[in-house]
């Protein structure tokens, strides 16, 4: 058993099998597909959904909204992180904004944003809003934790600003930025899909989840949730792969 756990793939498969078994046992114990569908019911519902074009349209549009919101949040959050780390005035002025965004419940934002934006744009904006403070805080911490001795060294050896940024600050901030990416992606998915549940765009996973719940299609609800999890994992892997390539290239 110990040897089996040394192989990463086998370990992952065994862990997954264990939790699917626990789920199956729970489904047997409950004995109602309406309350808790079994893994097989969910898989069947997922296969049935996969043959419908609307499933793929919903997945693609949700993916697009979440990704667009994530990218915008990372870009603006990183810029604000740098700005507030290097300027005390900007930090004093803008930090309350970050605290408000962090503390406000996502549903309040969704309902508020729906007053101004369409149901299609709202999930994107909400994903952006949830990612923004994560990128902001992480990047600011990265800039502030840059080794002061390396900055002094760069000054002594006359590094111009761009070189200092490339050789000292960027590599120091990178681990914080990557951490913000993985955390932010999870938040973007959760908030984006939640926004779709409330905003009801024409196509979207969140809307489909809401409708499954409305018509008591619990296996379908589980299937849509599985789709969110799979898409989220796929997107996270893709983003990490792309960032890894960019870092290596540099």
């Amino acid at each position: 058993m110990k040897r089996l756990f040394e192989n990463k793939t086998i370990k992952a498969l065994l862990v997954a099998a264990f939790w699917i078994f626990v789920w199956q046992c729970a489904a047997w114990a409950v004995g109602s597909e309406l309350l808790l569908p079994s893994p097989a019911d969910t898989a069947r519902a997922l296969v049935l959904l996969c043959v419908k074009p609307s499933f793929w349209i919903s997945c693609a549009l949700t993916l697009l909204r979440v990704f667009a919101g994530f990218v915008a949040g990372m870009l603006l959050g990183s810029a604000l992180g740098v700005l507030t780390a290097i300027s005390g005035f900007a930090s004093s002025l803008l930090s309350p904004l970050r605290s408000v965004v962090k503390a406000t419940p996502v549903t309040s934002f969704i309902i508020l944003v729906l007053l101004y934006l369409s149901s299609t744009l709202t999930p994107m904006f909400i994903a952006f809003l949830m990612v923004l403070p994560i990128a902001w805080t992480n990047v600011a911490n990265g800039v502030l934790s840059t080794d002061a001795q390396l900055i002094e060294m760069a000054n002594v050896f006359g590094f111009p600003k761009a070189k200092k940024l490339k050789c000292v600050y960027a590599p120091s901030v990178l681990p914080h930025f990557l951490s913000a990416c993985t955390t932010g992606l999870g938040f973007a998915w959760k908030s984006g899909v939640t926004a779709e549940v409330i905003a009801h765009p024409e196509f979207g996973i969140g809307k489909a989840i809401y409708e499954s719940k409305l018509y008591l299609e619990t296996p379908e609800l589980f299937a849509w949730t599985a789709a969110v999890i799979l898409l989220s994992i796929a997107l996270e892997k893709l983003v990490i792969l792309l960032l890894g390539r960019i870092v290596k290239w540099n």
Binding site: Q149, L150, E152, M153, V156, F157, G158, F159, K163, C167, V168, P171
Partner: protein, 189 residues
């Protein structure tokens, strides 16, 4: 570069009092003293990181000091060669970073990251970097820390050969190092 009657204190506790030294004209000066006597503070004053409480630090406009810090301060994400290359320019130092590192007996460690090098090897990369910058004066804060005696002798000889006519300020505990770098004057703090 010159210090005239410079004093400095941390939290009211005097660290340096009326220290003067003149690093012009290719002079080699050694500053010695026990820990806590302000040797590194002296280096920080010369590099302009701090200002003296009294006295003057005189630098000419086109002066470009080069330094080996008490800590190696290598960029941990770059190889040994890249650490040197980032400060090197052909106009100021004839040898390439590869050649310079070979002179420091690191020819087979060019592609290694600092964490893959021993303490003594990292020290030699820091020395190579200071030389590659081609600065004058060359400020060396315990440059041979972590090197055994034969290696110290060989590296000191290389520093003398490669620094050309640059002035040198050596900060050390060990008077033997002052001899190795042919210091004209020893200031005891």
């Amino acid at each position: 570069m010159e210090l005239r009657n410079v004093s400095f204190s941390y939290d009211g506790k005097p660290v340096l009092e009326n220290v003067s030294l003149d690093l012009s004209g290719g002079r080699h000066i050694c500053v010695m003293g026990e820990s806590g006597r302000g040797k590194t503070t002296l280096m920080r004053l010369l590099l302009g990181f701090i200002s003296p409480a009294s006295g003057e630090v005189i630098r000419s406009e086109n002066e470009r000091p080069s330094a080996v810090f008490q800590e190696d301060r290598l960029l941990p994400w770059f190889t040994a060669e890249r650490n040197v290359r980032e400060v090197w320019s052909k106009d100021r130092f004839a040898l390439s970073p590869k050649e310079l590192l070979s002179e420091m007996e690191l020819g087979d460690s060019l592609d290694k990251l600092p964490k893959e090098l021993s303490g003594g090897m990292q020290r030699r990369v820091a020395i190579a970097r200071a030389l590659a910058f081609g600065g004058d004066p060359l400020l060396l804060d315990e440059p041979f820390k972590g090197l055994d005696v034969p290696m110290r002798e060989r590296i000191a000889k290389k520093v003398l050969d490669l620094a050309g006519n640059a002035s040198i300020l050596l900060i050390t505990h060990d008077e033997y190092e002052a001899k190795l770098l042919k210091c004209d004057e020893i200031i005891r703090l």
